[in-house]
């Protein structure tokens, strides 16, 4: 029942978006936005091309590295600032300020430090992801009801048992929210990084297509990225809902 409804909803959304796309195409013209049908036909050929595969691999690799870094550093900062009161008090406003900052303004600095290769883009992607992961992890740890810790002690748990069987499950749903948001913004950071001062990756392809007026190719890359982000986000949301449902 709900499954069929969800499928119907998704279908309706896709149809509406295709209609909007067609309408925008009528207004903006083929140079800016090609029509849906020819783009779809183009897409079928393009995804098989080696040029497309190469750039997709580059972006996937950068995203993977950036995610590992963002999650590792973000979790470390979050746990530290959540567990150590003074660090949290000092660090939280700094993190919040950094979070609201348009990080693209720091891209030149990142490039000068990490160079024009893959490391610059990985660093820029990670820079985006670290903050939400750290902030939500810190929040999750601070929100642990103190009575859980007293219960753990009264049930004679060792410190490791307390971490593994009380603190971790208590904080997991909120930390996972941080990981999901971190994923979205890390992808954004990597693509932004590729758009400037880069010679490979899907972000580079979009900008390159734009300057060469290859609008069908440009939209094809956008559609692939859109589909990837939507599917990944849906999957992470699904896990997140499973975790949150019990709380």
């Amino acid at each position: 029942m709900t499954a069929t409804r969800r499928t119907t909803d998704t279908l309706v959304i896709v149809i509406v978006m295709l209609l909007v796309w067609q309408a925008l195409h009528q207004v903006a013209g083929s140079t800016a936005l090609p029509a849906p049908l020819p783009t779809m036909i183009y897409l079928m050929h393009a995804v098989a091309s080696p040029r497309f595969a190469e750039n997709t691999t580059t972006t996937a690799l950068e995203l993977a590295y950036a995610l590992v870094l963002a999650y590792a550093i973000g979790l470390a900062i979050g746990v530290w600032m959540g567990a150590h009161r003074l660090s949290g008090v000092v660090g939280e406003p700094i993190l919040v300020a950094l979070y609201s900052l348009p990080k693209i303004t720091l891209y030149p600095v990142v490039l000068l430090i990490f160079g024009l290769g893959i490391s610059g883009k990985v660093a820029f992607g990670a820079l985006h992801g670290i903050l939400p992961v750290a902030l939500l992890t810190m929040g999750a740890i601070r929100a642990i009801p103190p009575v859980y810790l007293r219960s753990a002690r009264s049930l004679r748990l060792s410190p490791w048992q307390t971490i593994a069987t009380v603190l971790l499950p208590a904080t997991l749903p909120e930390i996972f929210t941080g990981l999901r948001i971190g994923f979205t913004v890390t992808l954004l950071g990597v693509l932004l990084g590729e758009m400037f001062a880069s010679k490979s990756g899907l972000g580079f392809l979009i900008i390159n297509d734009m300057s060469l007026a290859q609008s069908e190719d440009m939209v094809t890359v956008a559609i692939i990225l859109f589909a990837f982000a939507a599917i990944a986000n849906a999957l992470l949301l699904w896990i997140e809902h499973k975790l949150h449902r019990r709380v």
């Binding site: 009801p145 859980y148 002690r153 049930l155 019990r246």
Partner: protein, 278 residues
């Protein structure tokens, strides 16, 4: 009907116990508790009443081993208790301490599983405790699907399965409505009788103390000390219907007479001379 003979074997002892919270930053040190002397008889039901902020919970935590006494000695079954909860002591807190990520049955089994008890034994004890607490039909439910009173029962079951010989209850019904509290009182009496454990109940409700306990310690405003210890003389077989007895009214009145001045002090008023209890 009356039966005031109390067990004489000492189960837990508190001698000259004081708790002073050290100064932090620009806050001066806080003398929260004591000195307190108390002997809990084996199998006794003892209640502690007192105004809010008087150090009742601090007393419970020191007795449990969750906090160290600044001075004095706590012993349980002849062994010193200090900074660690001894085997055989079970604690139930005022706040909802059920774990939302575990089912009712897994919550109840939590302490047993961490202590490496065989799974068959875990299941036997959990089934038993859930049946006793009226949670049998909710074994697979999650705490979020239960009411506050039911969740508190889950926490009691989690403590019960460990077969504690001294059960410390820190205002476990403080967040519940009055009717539920009376019924939970009956359940605690059942639990006390069935387990044969020594029970110490912290409460701010004089009637609850008067209804449940063998003895009631009335605690002064901070620093908490016992200004009176009242024997109720109830028989071991008793339930919430004793609220209709004349003695119930007398006990409640005596507790209030002792505590009125202390409660005013706790509110920040000067104690009236006639009511100064010490």
């Amino acid at each position: 009907m009356k039966n005031s003979s109390l067990p004489h074997e000492v189960h837990a002892q508190v001698a000259g116990v004081t708790r002073i919270y050290p100064a932090t930053g620009h806050h001066p040190p806080v003398h929260a508790l004591g000195p307190i002397d108390l002997e809990l008889g084996k199998g006794e039901f003892f209640a502690v009443v007192g105004p809010s902020g008087c150090g009742k919970s601090t007393f419970l935590e020191v007795l449990a081993g969750l906090q160290k006494a600044t001075a004095g000695l706590v012993t349980f079954e002849g062994k010193a208790v200090s900074g660690e909860v001894a085997d055989g002591i079970g604690v139930v807190f005022q706040e909802d301490a059920s774990f939302p990520w575990l089912t009712v049955a897994d919550n109840a089994a939590f302490g047993l599983r961490r202590n490496g008890i065989a799974e068959a034994e875990v299941r036997r004890r959990v089934d038993d405790a859930l049946a006793f607490m009226g949670l049998k039909d909710f074994a697979r439910a999650y705490p979020s699907q239960l009411s506050g009173g039911m969740r508190q029962r889950v926490c009691i079951a989690r403590t019960l399965v460990l077969q504690p010989r001294l059960i410390l209850l820190d205002e476990p019904f403080g967040a519940l409505d009055a009717q539920t509290r009376l019924l939970m009182g009956d359940e605690v009496l059942n639990l006390w009788r069935r387990t044969g454990a020594t029970v110490l109940l912290i409460t701010h409700a004089l009637d609850e103390a008067a209804m449940l306990a063998d003895r009631i310690g009335a605690m002064s405003a901070r620093p908490g000390r016992f200004i009176d210890v009242v024997k109720t003389g109830w028989p071991r077989e008793r339930d919430s219907t004793i609220v209709a007895e004349t003695a119930f009214g007398e006990i409640t009145a005596r507790l209030w007479e002792r505590l009125r001045g202390e409660s005013l002090k706790a509110l920040g008023h000067a104690a009236m001379p006639a009511m100064a209890a010490e």
